[in-house]
């Protein structure tokens, strides 16, 4: 082993950032689950210089070497030099990725993971782009809630969330694609699971990362408009609607501060109140327009069904309306395999087997789609 040399991120000639970011940012915040730095590096040893902060909801990361998971760990607050590998033969170039496992946390204003740089005795080599560019937009399912933890464990804790066992990762890997993720547990298209009308993804989609909070994140640029021209998405996969369906079953949301209230209602016979269903559908139509605006050539896939099919017709109806209004046929509805006793994970959320089945449906569909449209670079 030679002496390690310490590099600020912007001193490194070749590295790749996964997830939404501002190119060249240094130090680099990793806002989302799946956000990562990827390196191709020689040398016997590699360390990451990280700045970690959180109050209640801890941050987890994974370390992959040559595409294989080596480590999954919780990061304590503070500045850390984290060893990514050591003791290896110096000459071969290793592909290394350090990835944020846990979603952006609006519930903890300190929650923040920043990459300052790396230390190594090796050299950096170019990291190629993926064959395709995908964006996944979702809720707790896409945040991998339930993918760790035993069946029957019912806590809502970061430890049980992951990107490493998420369908988004599996799908991107199977296709050789780069993945962008924007997902937040409990959120919907029109409202959150509890009828909160503010916890809807479209309201934050256009920010770099509108799913966190606090001064620190603000100073890191999280709430600035995202520059969608930085990337050219081949497909946008939306997996939303599950919390909107839940809202119909939950009591009204009430904001004691403002007196504001919201409720998606059921008729006495258990069907959806038409007016409320319509505003959900309006939200879907609007979101499709927003997605199209920022992803002009992307194939938009609205997928749904891992936890109930209640809004399947409503989503289809909204998509049909969107197509009629826009004459945009580059959208499709994909139904996903429902959760079963065999595939459920912790906190009654999809476990790894459920995520794997969803990844299979998406992968097969996209393989077929791309084989016909050939966007591969």
């Amino acid at each position: 082993m030679n002496t390690l040399r310490k590099y600020a991120l912007n001193e490194i000639p070749h590295y790749k950032v996964h997830g939404r970011t501002v190119p060249g940012t240094c130090p680099l915040p990793l806002f989302f689950n799946g956000s990562a730095v990827e390196l191709n590096v020689s040398g016997s040893e590699l360390w990451a210089d990280l700045e970690v902060s959180w109050q209640n909801l801890e941050i987890w990361v994974t370390i992959e070497v040559n595409g294989e998971l080596m480590s999954r760990l919780m990061l304590a607050p503070g500045n850390h030099s984290l060893c990514l590998f050591r003791g290896m033969s110096g000459e071969p170039v290793k592909n290394v990725r350090i990835t944020r496992e846990t979603q952006a946390m609006l519930e903890d204003e300190d929650c923040c993971l920043i990459v300052h740089g790396f230390q190594t005795d090796g050299d950096f080599h170019p990291v190629p782009k993926g064959k395709y560019t995908l964006e996944f937009v979702g809720d707790s399912i896409t945040s991998g809630e339930g993918t760790y933890g035993a069946k029957g464990d019912m806590d809502w804790i970061p430890m049980y969330m992951s990107y490493s066992r998420d369908y988004a990762k599996m799908t991107a890997e199977a296709l050789g694609a780069d993945a962008y993720i924007i997902s937040k547990g409990g959120w919907g298209v029109l409202s959150g699971w509890d009828n909160n009308p503010d916890t809807n993804i479209p309201s934050r989609y256009e920010q770099l990362c509108g799913l966190c909070c606090g001064n620190k994140n603000e100073s890191l640029g999280a709430f600035a408009p995202y520059d969608f021209t930085l990337r050219k998405t081949d497909a946008v996969i939306v997996n939303l609607g599950t919390n909107d369906a839940s809202a119909f079953q939950q009591p009204a949301w009430h904001d004691p501060a403002t007196g504001r209230t919201f409720k998606q209602r059921l008729n006495p016979d258990g069907t959806f109140v038409e007016e409320d269903l319509n505003r959900f559908e309006d939200a879907v139509v609007s979101f499709l327009k927003m997605l199209r605006k920022h992803n002009p050539q992307a194939h938009i896939i609205w997928c749904y069904g891992m936890i109930g099919y209640d809004l399947s017709f409503a989503i289809n109806d909204a998509m049909i309306r969107y197509i009629r209004e826009s004459s945009d046929h580059n959208v499709i509805y994909l139904q996903l395999p429902g959760l079963t006793e065999e595939t459920v994970g912790s906190n009654n959320h999809p476990g790894e087997p459920s995520q794997r089945r969803t990844a299979q449906v998406l992968t097969e569909y996209l393989q077929d789609y791309f084989s016909k449209t050939s966007p591969a670079r």
Copy 2:
């Protein structure tokens, strides 16, 4: 072995007929793929007395003993005594089923399989009803085309069709249900794959078996109205639309005799002509009304997608219209996993792995549905 005794079907105290039939008919025609006689019988030996006729398209059957496939064979025309088992210990009661593998054949007016009776040295025991009653309505996919034969084999022949590897059988078995099948390769909801407007399933759904032809079948009552009150379906699974989608891609159908012509049209940009899409959707709405009329309490599942998703939005649109018009919410759309290189069978049709995946989707969905509605007897 004792001497065999020959029983006409109507001399047998206990037997169960699977598939559409007129109760008590003797001799008994098995019109559809999946139509079968099931016995619980003791004795060392059992033979079936069959009458077989066909000209071009031969009839295949399977023999199952205690739920396991023992034999699959082509039947030559003529009267046969076919051995179902022999040499077994006399005392135990065996569950035996002889099942028609191949669909009703409009293309061969002689095609006909009739069970006259059985020969055995044993006794007959009651055969219980299934926990649920399902009807499957479909095309070549439901007729199991491609479930036998090698990948790449491209003949359209009865040998490559089956009930034994069909999703309908797998689903019914997994649920402990009785299955009724009405399916015909190439047919659709509005028209056949080749734009033939007469090869649509709704036009024959109300007959006992409108999917065969010829004097013999007529004399067996095939074309008489089916008495739907004979059974109470818990779910009707429709798997149609694939041939309607094909019609848009195929040349116009033309009947030289009458000069009649029919064509589902594409716009120059490849989208469906709205007027033609509408008449497809009208056909779906009408068929849903017909299905509801004859299956008043059944959960109606329209499933689609094993060979392309082209009409997914159209089917949903039609179902949404049907729900609005009828206020009947007891219907659902289920998307099925698309065909892949790994799951394709002969003649470019779904192979056994594809059928198995469809059966899994349906089984999981119905298990969940039945667990909430408890129709099990």
Copy 3:
């Protein structure tokens, strides 16, 4: 379809016989499970002209087209023209195999299956040799007993035996090899399961087919010495010992006619009586010498363990003795996965999953062995 032309087997320019036979024999007896005629034939239709006889134990066959199982059926006694396919496109060449499913039957002196010829409107094309030549020597496990029939079914009947779900077939197919089978349920190396000292495979190994009986089989040459120079085996797989282990647990065998008696004995503490174990080991050593004599270059694999490991040490001990005496190191012992509740079939014998696991062990071993020794032609 053109008119069918009838060919005696010896009028056919190209055909391949699987299993032990005398080249050029016409009509052709198929003595063993796995014995088959394979054709590459064009045309729309193909029929086999068969002569079938049996009294108690019926003969089953399978029909494969392009490597896929199409039919499995019992053959009634008599002369039959059996349709192998019909209605196919005439031009493509189809690979077709008609295979005897059921083992040679000493228990039925009439039991006999003879191929006289074929009828077709097509032409015959050459059938290539396999990459390797394997011989499988065994008992009921190799005769596929239990591979058909439900778990818990306890009859000893031909219907429950097969070549189509046998590890020998699976292994040969996975390797692209030609397979010879000589196997008989209940037989051992030294004695049968019931201590019968005559039901040992080595005593019949050198006959063409010593595992049947009767004048008819005699007249077909079954009992003549087999000409081992006709083939060059790359590997001989012996799967024997299971019935020899059983003999230790069973009462003595007694021949009332001659007063002759035989018993493999246990000590009071449940261990094997050394003298009896020795004569078993002697039988193994002798059989290895016989196998080597007739298969001079073959890799000899003694595999064991699908139903108990009782004689594992004894077989190893005998093989070690054989190696010491002969300096022949071209032998190996392979232990097979034991039967479990999940893998058992009918009549407490290995079911298809058990046979598949054995095939995997053998295939992986042989792939590795052949990759190092390269006997592939």
Copy 4:
């Protein structure tokens, strides 16, 4: 969350130590891969107080909650409070295990992992014993080398070793058993892979942990005789011989300090020199006697074959000799599935799929064995 209370290990009323240890030791060294502390604890938070030291070869641990892997991480040298969980509902009792992933390291005299205690706001509950007690004795295979890391990665590093994907863990879990591990990469029965006659497991088997070195480990009692009466093993699984086979292929070992040399030799024809084979067999016989002495009632399973079958006959020969000499029949030879391209992991060692297949063979065998002998408590 209440305030955390800090407990020295010996202040904790209920905890369970996995692996060889001296009961009541505090602080507690975890010497072996698989050595662990298991707790049943309520509370919202749990931390482990650890002392970690190493120079070259880092220590990895895993954290499991309710039987599911949550974290796998490298530990830096120093004293750490490591969070095992946080933010959970306080009331439910969680089963938690912190386990050493990496083997004892003779190559690094500082290598040492010591548990001082735990911190929690919850209470401790009893941890039941396993149904069975197993000891696994092995080499790099049992040390899980290759179970992490990509195929083709060729470094010998701790990161690529594990207990979490080891057959010993899988087998113990499937059986509900407690596992003891003693394994060291490169070691054999007679000599190491490189003919080093000192790197043989039997020479260290009787020490608490003879596979580490250094003053610190000595002071922790590692080299003291292990008190075998502390446990009653139901089965001892030996997986050794692979490195002994390698020695025959490798150059002679030579100790420059003493001039001592050692070599297991091949004859010119590639067979083993009989004298050398005999001393290997003697070593096996001696080791079996040692194992029996310290595990009087254990079923001893010698398993072999994951990387080559070269010494299969030799091991059997030695076992047969042992049985003859000792009249101890409570031993068995189990052959394991060989490594394939599909199942290989990093550094050409068995990957997780290979370890899983071995676990299946052992689990099925032991389930059957225990069902007949019923040692379950």
